[in-house]
C-alpha cells in the first residue's frame, strides 16, 4: 500500500521515473544480447525477429516504448528542474511527460499492428 504522505502527483512521477529506469536497466542486457545474435547466430536472430511479429509481443513492445519515452521525458523535466530557472508548473510538466510518452508509444503501436 502507498502510505498517505506519498499520495501526490510528484511522488508518483518520482516512482514512475525510478520504476521505468529500473525496468529499462533490466531490458538493456537482453536488448544487447539480441543485437549480438546478428554476429554470433544470424539464423537465431531471424527466428527471434519472426517471433516479435506476434501481436502480443507488439503489445509488450508498446509497454517498453512507453517506459523508454516516460523515462526520457521525465528525465528532461528533472534536468530542466535542476538546471533551468524554477518553473512552478511541475505537476503539469510531469503529467505532460506521461501524456507525451503515451502518445509516442501509441503511435508506435498503431504503426506496428
Amino acid at each position: 500500500m502507498i502510505r498517505p504522505h506519498r499520495r501526490h502527483p510528484l511522488w508518483f512521477a518520482y516512482l514512475l521515473h525510478r520504476v521505468s529506469g529500473l525496468a529499462l536497466a533490466l531490458f538493456l542486457p537482453i536488448h544487447f544480447y539480441v543485437l549480438a545474435l546478428a554476429l554470433t547466430d544470424p539464423s537465431g536472430l531471424d527466428g527471434f525477429l519472426r517471433w516479435t511479429e506476434h501481436p502480443l509481443v507488439k503489445l509488450v513492445e508498446f509497454g517498453l516504448v512507453f517506459l523508454l519515452a516516460v523515462h526520457f521525458f521525465g528525465g528532461l523535466r528533472l534536468l530542466a528542474l535542476e538546471l533551468l530557472p524554477w518553473s512552478p508548473r511541475q505537476k503539469s510538466l510531469a503529467a505532460g511527460a506521461v501524456a507525451g510518452a503515451f502518445g509516442v508509444s501509441t503511435v508506435f503501436l498503431l504503426n506496428a499492428l
Partner: protein, 246 residues
Amino acid sequence: MLEQSILATSVWRGDAEGGEFQRFEVPRRDSQTVLDVVTHIQQELDPSLAYRFACRVGMCGSCAMMVNGVPRWTCRTHVSKVSGNVSGGGGELQIAPLRNLPVIRDLVVDMAPFFDKWTAAEGVFRPSETRAAPMAKVQPGSPARAAANAGIECINCAVCYAACDVVAGNTDYLGPAALNRAWTLVNDARDGGQAERIDAVSSEGGCHNCHSMGSCAQFCPNALNPTAAIAGLKRETVKAKLGWRR
C-alpha cells in the same frame, strides 16, 4: 449535533524503545483542531500523555505530528478536514509523533538532529560588513531578494523533514528545511559566507541527494517550496563547480 458524536482517536504511546497506539474516544466539537483533541485527551482522559505545543496559532512550529499518516501542524488542522466521514460517528483520527526524528515520549520528538542540520547547512547569517558600516541597500524587487523572500517564512516545524523519503533513507541528508534556509541566505546580498555555504550544501548529505519528490512542498503548512529552493542550490553548486559563480 456535532457535540454528541464521538471521534475515535488512536494516539501513539511509547518512547525511543517502542510503543503502540492507544484508543481514546473524544467528543466531537465544532471547529475542533487536532491539537484540541490531543489537549482533551491529556486534560480529561490521561494526564500522562506527552505532547508539545506553544502558540496554538501556527507561528511557533512546535505542535507538528503525523495525523492519519501525514505530517501536519496540529493547531491549524481542523478535525473535519482530516478525520473522514464515518457514518454515524465523528470520524477517525490516528495521531503519531513526527516521522524521521527520534521519539522522546508519546508525541514528543527530539528536534536536535533537525536543528543540527540547519547548522551543518551553514544556515546562519555571516555578515560581510561590521555594524559600523552604513545600512545595506537591498532592492526589494530584485530577483535574489524575491527568491529569499519566498523561503523566509519557515516556522521550523519539521513537517517537511517528516514528509521527506530521502531523509528517511539517508540519515546524513540535511533535509528540506535546512537547505531552504541555506537558499534564502545564498540569495542574501549582505551575507559573506557564500563559499562555505556552497561547500556545505554540496557535501555528502547535501542538496544533490534530493530526488524532487516534492513531499516537502506538498505538506509545508506555510506553503513554502523547499523543492524549488533545493533546485536553486543545485544550480548554484553546478555554477560554482564550473567557476560561473561571482
